[in-house]
């Protein structure tokens, strides 16, 4: 007993030291993570001439807040934001509907070949997207979908492997009694999915929604290859064209103002829905 007590006592002293050291290391790391953001906002607030001062001003002496509104107007961010949110909304709708619908089949209904299909679906998680890229592009080209939002949104309605998996894992934790009583009342499986399973799936649906939002909002490659009209571009693609233009360096403050504005939606979502981001990872069932 004595020795255990002693162990615990010295342990708590040592523990405190380690905790302090951890906080110091974590703070240093957090500073490294935040410096780029700080630099971004600092540049965004500068006068055009102050951007290239050597040594640089860390905190602009007279911040030009109007840079944000100028960037917003000049770069037509309203148009690109509208396009982006249109795509994001469509993709979210498609993903949520298809994932929750398909997962019910995998979780509850028996059919020959069901498990093989499920395994095949999971295997696609490891497939590099590059393999299907060229033919998918040619396929959309053949049906005349290039330069429309269809190639970006329609595939979402066919179930994304990871989210179907997530939904199925959730469905199998729901007790069957709930469905059985509805079945006795004569409800069809479709009705059961819609009015029993879906209302219970709020948190998982929210998890899928936030990941879909972030993934689609940040997606660069697909809008880059499928959209050609300037007026149809998404925020990500529009930004990338600014970066490539020779004028861009001269207007680094406006460019950084635009970048700052562009990361606001995902940051707000992250702040508001943090637990769903964490849940999405914890419920993958990778542990144990």
């Amino acid at each position: 007993m004595q020795s255990i007590l002693r162990t615990i006592r010295t342990r708590s002293g040592q523990q405190r030291l380690i905790d302090i050291a951890s906080v110091i290391v974590l703070t240093a790391g957090a500073v490294i993570i935040l410096i780029p953001f700080f630099w971004m906002i600092s540049t965004a607030l500068k006068q055009n001439g102050d951007v290239f001062l050597v040594p640089p001003q860390w905190i602009p002496t007279n911040p030009k807040w109007e840079n944000f509104s100028i960037a917003f107007a000049q770069l037509k961010l309203d148009v690109y934001a509208f396009n982006t949110f249109f795509i994001v909304t469509a993709v979210m709708t498609g993903t949520l509907l298809s994932a929750s619908f398909a997962a019910y089949g995998f979780a509850r209904l028996q059919a020959p070949g069901r498990d093989t299909i499920f395994m095949l679906l999971l295997a696609t998680l490891m497939l590099p997207g590059a393999v299907t890229l060229v033919p998918t592009y040619l396929m959309f080209n053949t049906v005349g979908w290039i330069n429309t939002y269809l190639p970006l949104t329609v595939p979402a309605f066919f179930g994304s492997a990871y989210f179907v998996f997530l939904m199925r894992q959730f469905y199998i934790t729901i007790p069957r009694e709930l469905e059985e009583s509805a079945m006795i009342d004569g409800a069809s499986v479709y009705r059961i999915w819609w009015s029993i399973m879906l209302p219970l799936s709020g948190p998982v649906l929210a998890t899928i929604a936030v990941f879909t939002f972030v993934g689609t909002y940040n997606d660069f490659f697909n809008p880059l290859i499928y959209l050609s009209d300037e007026s149809k571009r998404t925020i990500a693609v529009a930004l990338s064209y600014l970066s490539g233009s020779p004028r861009s360096v001269a207007k680094m403050n406006l460019l950084m103002a635009a970048v700052t504005l562009s990361i606001i939606p995902p940051i707000l979502l992250f702040i508001g829905a943090q637990r769903y981001f964490v849940r999405g990872i914890v419920t993958t069932g990778i542990k144990g």
Partner: protein, 309 residues
């Protein structure tokens, strides 16, 4: 992955089972169609394309292994493989190590730890073109912060993005910044390790290193495995940052295989050739994944083994 068939039910009559199967197929139909339309179909077409000279000018015509032999003789293709290989070999282990280290620190019960967790995860949420442009500015030779901070301690920073020696290294640095996703998966794994195990080891007099070496690492090995597989697949498909920050340059010093593929598919419109590149990439990913899976019995420790002992 265990696919449970649920509780045993009494034998059902044939028509009932058939009706259930029919409903099951209706529910699964989006996935079945999706697999056919967007995965299996394109894969077969892609394989066929890779043996053809289909491009902007030529119609589809089979040319045997010509694309592949041409690839193997193309200096730029080997360059792209080399760049992707260097990037993967450096950034994946580096990312895993830093992510694990951070996860261990973030697993402590300290007040305010949630704020730190969010901060470290934040870059993952906003990864994309905007952040890539921010990095481009940060690495600016004269006005970027990195060289200015280096200047403060008397080091003359390199011309990061325009120097062949440094451009790839700069991209590796940016990849480490986005290590939050991997970190969070490690953190979830760490929280699955029973606290009593650590405590017991401590009372037995195990020091921190041996606790880490003999408890944390083995119990976390399946999570490491998961992160390693995802890391390799991600690194070999690395595109956005290279495209936006360096555009594959200078002088192809950051010509990743995905950038090389993009050029052939969407700039030169060599669809057959691009399909061949994508199949080589696919084979490499498959081989590496298989290798990792095959090696896993040597170093991945599963919970069931622990319970069996």
């Amino acid at each position: 992955m265990a696919v449970s068939t649920g509780a045993k039910k009494p034998k059902r009559r044939g028509w009932q089972a058939r009706a259930e199967a029919l409903n099951a197929y209706v529910f699964m139909s989006p996935v079945i169609l999706g697999l056919l339309l967007f995965t299996l179909g394109p894969m077969i077409i892609s394989l066929a394309l890779s043996f053809s000279d289909y491009n902007l000018l030529n119609d589809f015509q089979l040319i045997g292994f010509d694309n592949y032999t041409k690839l193997l003789n193309e200096e730029l293709f080997w360059q792209s493989l080399r760049i992707s290989a260097i990037y993967s070999v450096v950034s994946v282990p580096l990312g895993l190590t830093i992510a694990l280290f951070l996860a261990i620190l973030l697993n402590k019960k300290i007040r305010g730890i949630y704020v730190f967790r969010s901060m470290y995860y934040l870059p993952t949420v906003i990864s994309g073109v905007g952040v890539a442009m921010l990095w481009k500015w940060i690495f600016n030779v004269k006005h970027g912060i990195i060289n200015n901070v280096l200047g403060m301690i008397g080091v003359k920073g390199p011309n990061w993005l325009l120097d062949e020696q440094w451009a790839l290294f700069a991209l590796i640095i940016t990849s480490v910044w986005g290590v939050g996703g991997t970190m969070l998966i490690f953190l979830a794994g760490l929280q699955g390790i029973p606290y009593e195990l650590m405590e017991a080891a401590e009372i037995d007099g195990a020091n921190r290193w041996s606790q880490f070496r003999h408890i944390t690492l083995p119990l976390l090995s399946n999570v490491t495995f998961f992160n390693l597989v995802l890391g390799i697949i991600g690194a070999l498909q690395y595109f956005t940052d290279a495209f936006v920050i360096t555009g594959g340059g200078p002088n192809n010093a950051t010509l990743f295989i995905a950038v090389y593929l993009y050029r052939h598919a969407f700039q030169y419109l060599n669809f057959g050739y691009a399909a061949a590149i994508s199949w080589v990439l696919f084979l490499i990913v498959m081989l590496l994944t298989l290798l990792v899976f095959r090696s896993s019995p040597l170093w991945v420790f599963y919970e069931s083994e622990r319970k069996a002992k």
